[in-house]
Symmetry: C2
Subunit: 412 residues, 2 copies
């Protein structure tokens, strides 16, 4: 079925990814991937008549599919393009990143982790030694505490709303194993985790998290950690704010109290009303986002599958619901099995759009009974002084012409 020659070449707006490799970011100043360049992609009129390119050492994406992360203007973070993604796994090269001193280059053969302080036997572990211990692999989300836009308008995308959450299969050694190895003393109740980036990131973590489910992770989605995610080894605290999962980890010090570092006093603490503050607010609360339809996007009337993800740092997702009437009634969506704890879960709901203006909202409830709040409820509880741990119900408005815009009203 050859097509007309006039259709042979297609002018295509490619993402900036093709032109700009990692680390070659001269001139990138915007927050949107607007560096898109026009490219002509030579598509054969009939692919069955043309021998295609051969096998390759490492694959690359179709020129028609160039998802990119969204860069912060200061290049200290980048956000996952949730609206482009299917399923639950985030490709490692699109996993969000956040760092305070850039991405350090670390030689794995020179890497070591010191565990000391209130322990019977201070020890240093090389990467090879860490890999000799019993390991686990777990599909879990990782989310930044500050995963909400400061400003939002109708053109806000899922990537801007909550693109600081991503999901990987993490592989590593349980921290509990190492704590038994060094003999953590009974009076040790907190530990300091210290990174070897230029920020020397430090956070205080309760020892209980180590006995529960903390990992020293060296694997991500089947391969080594990516540099921006802590290569060659990082702390990984399932369900907790990403900053506490210190990357490029070089030192753990056991103590009988928190260390009160800059990153848990000046930062990553939530100012409340009345001069109070919420400190060590580690757990990421349950949240959901509709990733289709969404902005930017356009739909046509008829049946479509409304899709999104839901997750909770407290455990498994119990339900995801959709509302088409501003929250008056809620309809339960299907959840994709297996529903893993502290993991993004894909939800889906078949919906027939009649072509009239419509809104769709999503909310989720986790297995502890925690219900994702409205933005109004969040403000009532915590005031407006914090930009951390914001997880309000969000949604989209579908205009009669099929365009989809962010639902900006604070309601509930």
């Amino acid at each position: 079925m050859p097509k007309k020659p006039s259709m042979n070449r297609r002018t295509f707006v490619a993402g900036a990814a093709g032109a700009l490799g990692a680390g070659v970011l001269k001139g990138v100043t915007g927050v949107t991937p607007s560096l898109a360049q026009e490219a002509e992609i030579p598509v054969p009129p009939d692919p069955t008549r043309v021998q295609g390119p051969p096998a390759s050492l490492v694959g690359s994406r179709s020129p028609f599919e160039q998802p990119v992360r969204l860069l912060h203007p200061r290049l200290t973070s980048s956000r996952t393009p949730l609206q482009d993604l299917l399923g639950t796994v985030t490709p490692s090269d699109l996993h969000f990143e956040r760092h305070h001193g850039g991405v350090p280059l670390i030689d794995p053969d020179r890497y070591s982790l010191l565990i000391h302080g209130m322990v019977e036997r201070p020890m240093v572990f090389t990467l090879e030694e860490l890999k000799r211990f019993p390991s686990v692999s777990e599909i879990r989300f990782m989310e930044c505490a500050g995963n909400f836009p400061r400003n939002a308008g109708e053109e806000t995308t899922p990537q801007q709303i909550c693109g600081l959450t991503s999901q990987s299969e993490w592989t590593g050694v349980p921290l509990a194993t190492l704590f038994r190895e060094v003999g953590v003393l009974p009076e040790a109740t907190w530990f300091l985790a210290e990174g070897q980036d230029a920020a020397v990131m430090t956070r205080s973590i309760p020892v209980e998290k180590a006995w529960d489910d903390a990992l020293i992770a060296y694997g991500q989605n089947g391969e080594a950690l990516r540099p921006e995610n802590g290569y060659p080894a990082r702390l990984f605290l399932p369900g907790w704010e990403g900053n506490a999962s210190v990357k490029w980890l070089r030192r753990i010090e056991l103590s009988d109290g928190p260390f009160m570092t800059r990153e848990e006093t000046s930062r990553y603490t939530d100012p409340l009303t009345g001069g109070k503050a919420r400190q060590f607010s580690f757990v990421m609360d349950a949240r959901s986002i509709i990733t289709h339809p969404c902005h930017p996007g356009r739909v046509t009337p008829g049946w479509m599958e409304v899709r999104g993800i839901a997750w909770s740092g407290r455990g498994r997702i119990r339900s995801a619901e959709l509302s088409f009437d501003e929250g008056a009634t809620w309809h339960r969506a299907d959840l994709q099995e297996p529903i893993l704890p502290k993991a993004h879960v894909r939800f889906r709901y078949m919906w027939r759009w009649d072509g009239e203006e419509a809104t769709i909202l999503s909310r989720t409830t986790d297995e502890t009974g925690y219900v994702q709040p409205t933005q109004r409820e969040l403000v009532q509880a915590r005031g407006v002084g914090t930009s951390y741990h914001l997880n309000p119900i969000t949604g989209w408005r579908i205009r009669p012409d099929g365009t989809v815009v962010y639902r900006t009203e604070v309601w509930g």
Copy 2:
């Protein structure tokens, strides 16, 4: 803790991936990634004293981690580096590939799938239309029928033994949904799946597989299919030989019998003894491989975690076992939860190597009771005329100096 300046720069043998992008394969003739080039990686003596590179649109691997696929000399396939991988997900750019006419470049806006033949209503579906249907996401392995080396020596690696299996989270629409849409007639018992590559790959599939769990897949590991894996849409038959999961799918024709195409008569049929042959041998039998320790690799005495993967096209893995005495006794390994059906499962076993010459073998049993056979049992059952569906128990010999070589003896 600054290191000596003399350690600042490290001479590093990088994989060929860095120098050769996909499609830039001039001069590649070997089957091993021996195009490795020496490169100097400028590692700072103390990463905490140097601001690292900023955030990027698309991430890239550490220069110290450059896993590559293993190319067939004719560049018609490439194998996954199983010995380099952790967990169960295969990074999409390292998923094995096998094609018979190269990798076609297809414009998703011009893509369509025709379903016709013994149906009430022949229909054509665009990609956008396929995406409107209810979708599912499933983590499943994909394995080529010919996943065994023709020749093996002591220097054979897991990548050469069975690198034609990989695992992804696949997203798509159940074929059963489309079959209900077109109204498949009761007398239709088989269907033809036809690709739009230069080979115009065609295979006959029993209709039962569509009612069971076949997908039209358009997503892989959270994003669009990769070009070498069928972009923009492919058939996906969980647990069945990869060739039958026709890529770049353009046509499905319902019929009352198989179509007896070249790829199921001349190829992908298993010659047995006595002039007989096994045809339509779709299901991939249970198999396992130890990926650590393995060749190439070297170990030191003491405790280590023996790691590998096990999988079965018949369903879930029930057990993976290791033998250190040539199969006389077997020891049950731990299986990583969740154990998904028709999926690679990671197994692990703590083992103490005493420094003497040793062998380690792995075998798996699936939930149907099928036990992975020895190579001798396979030859007894099917002769030596076939190179398809070979899944023998394999293993490694550890020499006193710690080097690990492939266990070449046929035993059992």
